[in-house]
Subunit: 319 residues, 2 copies
């Protein structure tokens, strides 16, 4: 692949993996790779390691030069200064990522919250043609969000807008990891769903789920096993999905009443429980939101899921 | 006042009154007036009456010509077509306001939701210099909102964005007039506060409030009397304000996590219960919202309250 086309290195930095891809301006991926990263080491060391991975990746892809790097990080980032202000997933606080990385890998760098990257990816790959206002929710262990308004990523005044997962839906509800109570994430993030399932197991309310988990030691309690138990007729697990759908529907309804978007795109692991969560969510949305913004709204699950973050990070570099 | 300056007629059309003002590009009011309007009559007749009031107003103010009219309406409006899609306050549905009014008063007309006008007024009068992203909440009988992003009124895809009062804060909560449950408005709109007070009175929990109301037949149960009872030591009424502050704080926290605004401005009748509602609201906000967006946020109560709607309506005409 010895070409001199203008390419950007897109990177998506989660809690355990680093996804890398060479991105064309169209959003097409020329070459991609996923490498494990050990984030328990000191940030300085981790970042030098990431720089080395970047070099190796370029060599492997036989691309001699790139325009720069667009990098998504699970956390609160200062895009202008290139600082990761806070990332609970990476266990970083006030890490001058740009400064450290530039010594190892001297290319222009843009850093951005990973959910914002996914939203930009979803917008560019799937919606740019016919849509101005889009909201993307990443339903995974946590719940992230990105907001596209008038065709631009909306970052707010200090770059931290779009924390959709930490919207209070039940103000006296479950404590969330963020310090708030009754956030969407605390109820329907994967960890919230697992907590609800555990509550049921303790009370002996989820016999089929219990049976599935006891089949072998390798089987984990996670959204997939809760889905399997629901599919096999576990009443408590079905209720978990019904309620999760209701909470998701309330969250969407709040977004619709506030933003009146053209589209909402869902992605991430939990969104794969499509039939279980989407039906009650759309029902709740239709019941609760204002009618005018509902008329033109389209809610869908992204078909590009896995690559949204890395493509969005790369494409944001061009913006 | 026989001048040929470029002026706009600002109008703020509530459920019982029509506020009128001649607005300069600076936002200064040259002449203003408030007239009662009987909205129980057919829309056609009401609008012709409004047109006549406009003419009378111009004559009184001795201004021979205006550039146009900016008009705020309590309801869901289609700005582009000049149609009031739905206004529960005026009891209007799909009313072609622009078309009807143009026969009586043939000037260019802009119509906009009244809370959006108030937000634009708050932005122009108080915040334009040092602020890009501002959210304005009107705390009255209902709770309205307007959102200014990157220095522009944000309307969403069909013009209905900004329904902050209908954000679900307690998803199994009190039924709201909008069809949803546990909206901010259902709990801390004036009607929500009154309902909570009535619940207490029925249970004999608010003795001081009861005494105040029984003093004379003219005294109404409203936020002011609930405030008075709280000031006189009524424990139940104090609790009403504490909880109202908490709900308001949750609402602000959601807005801060979503929009990361520079400023939030509160206006409307309920915001006048300043000491009772603002303290618990700010406490809750500090506890619940993300820290990064809180650093640069300023929350205040508007000093221009009464005129925000009419000035904002006029100034929006120039946009």
């Amino acid at each position: 692949m010895t070409r001199k086309q203008k390419l950007v290195l897109g990177a998506d930095c989660g809690g355990t993996n680093l996804k890398l891809a060479l991105i064309e301006p169209s959003g097409a991926i020329l070459y991609s790779k996923r490498v494990p990263v050990n984030f328990t080491e000191a940030p300085q060391k981790v970042i030098c390691g990431i720089g080395k991975e970047f070099k190796k990746f370029l060599k492997e892809s036989r691309v001699s030069e790139i325009l720069g790097i667009g990098m998504g990080i699970a956390g609160d980032v200062d895009q202008q200064k290139g600082i990761v202000r806070f990332s609970p997933n990476l266990n970083w606080k006030q890490v001058p990522l740009k400064q450290i990385l530039s010594k190892e890998f001297p290319y222009p760098l843009l850093i951005e919250n990973d959910a914002n990257c996914a939203a930009w990816g979803a917008y560019c790959l799937d919606a740019k043609k016919d849509c101005k206002n889009l909201i993307c929710l990443t339903l995974g262990t946590g719940i992230g969000g990105g907001i596209i308004l008038n065709g631009k990523l909306f970052r707010g005044s200090r770059g931290s807008a779009g924390e959709i997962g930490h919207m209070t839906i039940e103000y006296r509800g479950r404590p969330c990891k963020c310090g708030n109570f009754g956030c969407t994430e605390s109820m329907i993030g994967a960890w919230g769903l697992i907590q609800t399932a555990q509550d049921g197991l303790k009370k002996g309310l989820a016999p089929i789920l219990k049976k599935i988990l006891s089949k072998s030691k390798g089987i984990e309690l996670n959204p997939e096993t809760i889905e399997e138990a629901a599919a096999q007729g576990d009443g408590y697990c079905r209720q978990i999905w019904d309620e999760a759908g209701e909470i998701l529907g309330c969250t969407l309804s709040n977004l619709v009443n506030l933003f009146n978007p053209d589209r909402i795109i869902l992605c991430g692991g939990v969104s794969k429980a499509r039939s279980w969560i989407l039906k009650p969510a759309l029902h709740t949305l239709a019941m609760r939101a204002f009618k005018t913004p509902l008329v033109s709204l389209r809610v869908s699950i992204s078909q590009y899921d896995e690559k949204l973050g890395v493509v969005g990070a790369g494409l944001l570099f061009w913006e």
